[in-house]
């Protein structure tokens, strides 16, 4: 029987104005799954991701990830939780322009207290694995979109997180770069990485996800097991 990694129970997130972003949402994700969250704009996809990452708190309900009751965490505990369990990849990469590729990748490890040599060694391994070792000393501004997203993935993986969260990982990329990142995600999943991605890109979901969850108006409208990625 598969082990549950993420468990959301009756989660509601109500902002100041308008209808709730999420409404009584219940969802579980097992270790090793690659889940694509789909839905139109305003359906609550990003809110769901933020709640799982500990960047936001539900108005009601519980969020448990890797045994951690995320909804109860304060800011400092949430930061420690992210360092330990979560890797995040963003649509617009969110790399720090003033740091080199290697320094960007090392950052989460260093914030976790990993010694400089060990962090550097991990970063070099990841950059080599992801095929961007030659850019280690370059600054992000000089890289293509696909390369930047690879750097972002390397940064997300440096602390060997149980869960990789990806928010529209191909949304800012051209087609070729998108395919490149798509293949990377497939490879990561094949290596056993649990992945939860938010996307509008059906092709990406089809190619990378073992399960798709459709959100409409903050509720799960469809939850489909798609089997092994194509």
């Amino acid at each position: 029987m598969s082990e549950t990694l993420i468990e959301l129970r009756e989660v509601t997130r109500q902002y100041d104005e308008g209808p709730p972003a999420l409404r009584d949402l219940t969802l579980t994700v097992n270790r090793g799954e690659s889940v694509a969250i789909l839905g139109p704009s305003g359906s609550g996809k990003s809110t769901l991701l933020n709640l799982i990452a500990g960047l936001d708190r539900p108005t009601s309900g519980t969020v448990t990830v890797a045994g951690t009751r995320v909804h109860t965490l304060g800011e400092a505990a949430a930061a420690r939780y992210r360092r330990a369990h979560i890797g995040m990849v963003f649509q617009f990469f969110n790399l720090l322009d003033d740091l080199t590729v290697q320094d960007n990748v090392m950052l989460p490890a260093q914030l976790s207290g990993v010694r400089g040599g060990e962090a550097r060694s991990r970063a070099e391994r990841l950059l080599t694995t992801l095929g961007i070792a030659r850019h280690a000393d370059a600054y992000p501004g000089r890289l293509s979109g696909g390369e930047r997203q690879r750097v972002a993935v390397a940064r997300a993986l440096i602390n060997e997180p149980a869960l990789l969260l990806a928010d529209e990982p191909t949304g800012a990329l051209d087609t070729a770069s998108g395919v490149d990142v798509q293949n990377l995600i497939k490879e990561l999943h094949a290596g056993g990485q649990t992945i939860l991605m938010v996307t509008h890109d059906l092709a990406l979901a089809e190619a990378c996800a073992t399960r798709t969850v459709h959100l409409v108006d903050g509720q799960v409208s469809m939850d489909t097991l798609t089997g092994a990625p194509s």
Partner: protein
């Protein structure tokens, strides 16, 4: 509301409340300190002349012998040639009084019987309490170390101090009702006060005096004092303090200008992207400039008005102290100082805002919009790489490299901290110098004073009580033999004529070594041999003499020739020499209370010996006095506690120095806060990224704090020498304008430990300024920050 108006109101509204608050607070502090500074500067302008005119001061105060003239005859002198106004006759007498505390010093007071403080001439100003109208009530001069409610005893009568008053003409030590005076002592004379049609020069005053004398029986005028003499003494007394007051005023104004300019420039420069949006919407460069100047002016105006109130409230107690030193009855902040200061600060805000906004307004909309969305252009990457190799936590390293990414902003931070540190350094230095000026000017650190005791019956000068003069050497030997004595000397003063001096000179004949009683040398050395003397800087300045000159002193019994070997910091006209050098020229000493003239609260004896004693720290004063006094009684002397005349202005100015330094340091911290908030808002998205990848609130705070540590230390290190340089230039310049030089004791006030603390003071200013921004950065929600453009 117009489009510009809407931009201004939104710019100072909820979303920019912190920046609005900072501008308002800085304006408040700038105006408050400037009002204080302006008040000090204005009050330093001819304070004696102003107050003398306000009181319609007496050009001549004459004491007429009551045994030779009737009150009617004295009053008739009001029609003497040249007299335009007169007041009196007021009965006058000398009353010996003693404070209520044990071992308090005895004083001979010149007391005038006046029914009220008003009159045609010498309108005495009450500074505290009320006028003495009832029996056994007394009003004392502001210079007396007594407060309303205190009691003093004269023979068997207890007098209650019901008021303090100031006469610019210095016509009395104290006032009572005529009936009270009659009960206390025999009226020895009538005081007449005159104003003349021509009284500007010593020649005119000599003629005026002669005219009054002519209107009286022969030898009926006991004494007369010209206002020119009073004026000279008053100006001398205040002269030493004037440079410090001016320096504080200038400091407050200058620092206000620098800090306001810093904050406003930083605020407008940070809004470039918003300006780009406005231009894209169709705002003209002129409208953009007006909008941003308005945005700065609105909170500045509110702050300025609050600053006027605060400045005036702070000025009240300060000016009350200043007027004591200037001898003026009333000082207040002129309304036009408020108007000028507010106008100036708001003009400064508008001007600096206009210059900064003009630059932004001229940017093309595209360029302006690009600001904040592009990378920093690679600035400071080398620093980031370098710091990344340092063995410090990563969050700290990111903070340390931050100033290099925005060097102009770092320069603004540096300037704010350097200004604040310079202000604190200067204020600390000038405050210390001021305390030392008082210490060196008063020569009054003795613990005990020895002089003839207070007589026990009404008449203060009963010749029958006089005994033979005590031998000073024997008295000193007695004092020296007393356990607990650390140092002691005796002195006798006599006004003597000196070659080259227009006025008589106070010659002090000394037995023993007096230099420990805070006689600070400006040049040369303290006298050490017979025939040598040490002169006051005021005397050398007045006479044009210099160290090395030989002068002849003519006293009651002969002449003495002395060589001036040193210059002492002292604004009066005095000269010190060994008793063996000038004693013969002085003649025989008086020996008892009969010889003690009114010498002020310090009980200085004139033409009789007084002794000054320092006791060791471990010695109990009361026990020492109890042991010494029986021995002194045999030679007609008594030891008293020295009622150190604490100068209220010094305490007030030290308080002011602390206040100004605190205000300016706070303004500098606000500058740091402002600049740091602008920087954090600019990079809030990066902040969100770092928090998203695991930067904890504590690490965020550490990062922000680290970003100001280097700048803080550098600003401190830059500000300290600036403050010292301003101190080293200001002090001698200002002292020179007051006609004096300053000894190293007063100018060399910065000790290594103090300087180190001041450098770290810059760091403290930076850290205090970073507290709110770092807290904000730690609290900002990651998801919100990530959504920020």
């Amino acid at each position: 509301m117009s489009a510009v108006g809407r931009v201004v109101s939104s710019g100072v509204g909820r979303r920019r409340w912190l920046q609005t608050l900072v501008i308002g607070l800085v304006a408040l502090m700038a105006v408050a300190t400037s009002v204080l500074g302006g008040a000090l500067l204005i009050s330093s302008r001819a304070p004696f002349d102003t107050a003398f005119a306000e009181q319609n001061g007496a050009h001549l105060a004459a004491l007429i012998d009551a045994k030779k003239v009737t009150p009617e005859q004295a009053a008739a002198t009001a029609s003497a040639t040249g007299v335009v106004e007169a007041a009196g006759p007021f009965p006058t007498g000398t009353v010996a009084v003693k404070g209520s505390e044990a071992n308090s010093l005895a004083l001979d007071l010149v007391v005038v019987g006046r029914a009220d403080p008003a009159g045609a001439v010498d309108k005495v100003s009450l500074t505290d309490g009320r006028w003495a109208t009832g029996p056994n009530e007394i009003v004392v001069s502001n210079g007396m170390n007594l407060s309303v409610g205190d009691t003093v005893t004269s023979s068997q009568t207890t007098l209650t101090v019901v008021g303090k008053a100031r006469s610019m003409s210095d016509t009395a030590d104290a006032w009572t009702s005529p009936a009270t005076l009659a009960a206390l002592t025999t009226t020895t004379g009538y005081q007449m006060l005159y104003r003349f049609s021509a009284a500007a020069t010593a020649t005119e005053m000599a003629a005026n005096r002669a005219a009054v004398e002519k209107a009286l029986p022969a030898d009926a005028m006991i004494a007369a004092r010209s206002w020119l003499e009073v004026r000279r003494e008053a100006i001398e007394a205040a002269a030493v303090f004037v440079p410090f007051l001016i320096a504080f005023g200038v400091l407050a104004l200058a620092m206000s200008v620098l800090i306001v300019a810093n904050v406003i420039t930083g605020s407008v420069a940070s809004a470039v992207r918003r300006i780009g949006i406005l231009k894209a919407l169709g705002f003209t460069p002129g409208e953009v400039v007006r909008a941003y100047v308005g945005q700065a002016l609105l909170p500045a105006a509110v702050g300025a008005l609050a600053g006027v109130v605060a400045g005036n409230l702070l000025a009240v107690p300060l000016l009350a102290r200043v007027q004591v030193v200037y001898g003026t009855p009333k000082l207040a902040v002129s309304w036009w100082v408020d108007v000028v200061v507010v106008g100036f600060v708001l003009g400064l805000v508008a001007g600096t805002g206009w210059i900064a906004a003009l630059r932004a307004g001229r940017l093309s909309a595209v360029d302006a919009l690009a600001v904040g969305r592009t990378s920093s252009g690679g600035r400071g990457r080398w620093a980031a790489r370098l710091v990344g190799r340092l063995p410090v936590p990563r969050a700290v390293g990111i903070g340390l490299a931050r100033p290099f990414a925005r060097p102009m902003r770092a320069v603004l931070l540096l300037a704010a901290i350097a200004f604040g540190t310079a202000a604190v350094t200067f204020s600390v230095g000038i405050g210390t110098s001021l305390v030392r000026v008082q210490a060196a000017g008063e020569h009054d650190i003795a613990d005990l004073v020895v002089q003839p005791p207070l007589p026990t019956r009404g008449e203060p000068s009963a010749p029958a009580e006089d005994g033979p003069p005590a031998d000073p050497a024997k008295v000193l030997a007695t004092i020296g033999a007393q356990p607990g004595t650390e140092a002691a000397y005796g002195e006798r003063q006599q006004p003597m004529r000196m070659t080259g001096a227009a006025n008589t000179v106070n010659v002090v004949a000394i037995v023993g070594n007096a230099q420990w009683n805070r006689y600070e040398m400006i040049s040369g050395r303290w006298y050490s041999a017979i025939g040598e003397a040490t002169a006051a800087s005021g005397l050398l300045k007045a006479t044009g003499k210099k160290v090395g000159d030989t002068v002849t002193l003519t006293g009651n019994a002969g002449t003495a020739t002395v060589t001036v070997v040193g210059e002492v910091f002292e604004s009066g006209e005095a000269i010190w020499a060994d008793l063996a050098t000038v004693g013969a020229a002085m003649g025989e000493t008086g020996s008892s209370s009969a010889a003690r003239a009114a010498g002020g609260e310090r009980g200085m004896t004139r033409d009789s010996f007084g002794y000054y004693i320092a006791i060791t720290d471990a010695t109990d004063e009361t026990a020492y006095l109890a042991q010494l006094n029986p021995e002194l009684k045999n030679v007609g002397l008594e030891a008293f506690r020295n009622p150190h005349s604490t100068e209220p202005l010094v305490a007030a100015l030290v308080g002011l120095a602390t206040l100004v330094a605190s205000l300016l340091a706070a303004a500098a911290a606000l500058g740091v806060l402002n600049t740091l908030m602008l920087d954090l808002r600019d990079r809030v998205h990066d902040l969100g990224v770092m928090k998203a990848v695991g930067m904890s609130p504590g690490q965020t705070v550490a990062s922000v704090i680290a970003s100001v540590v280097g700048v803080g230390l550098l600003g401190g290190a830059a500000g300290v020498p600036i403050g010292m340089a301003v101190h080293s230039v200001t002090l001698p310049t200002m002292a020179g304008s007051a006609g004096t030089s300053l000894p190293p004791f007063i100018t060399d006030v910065y000790l290594p430990a103090m300087l180190t603390a001041l450098v770290f003071g810059g760091l403290v200013v930076a850290l205090v300024g970073a507290m709110i921004p770092s807290g904000w950065a730690a609290r900002v929600r990651t998801a919100t920050a990530l959504r920020t453009e």
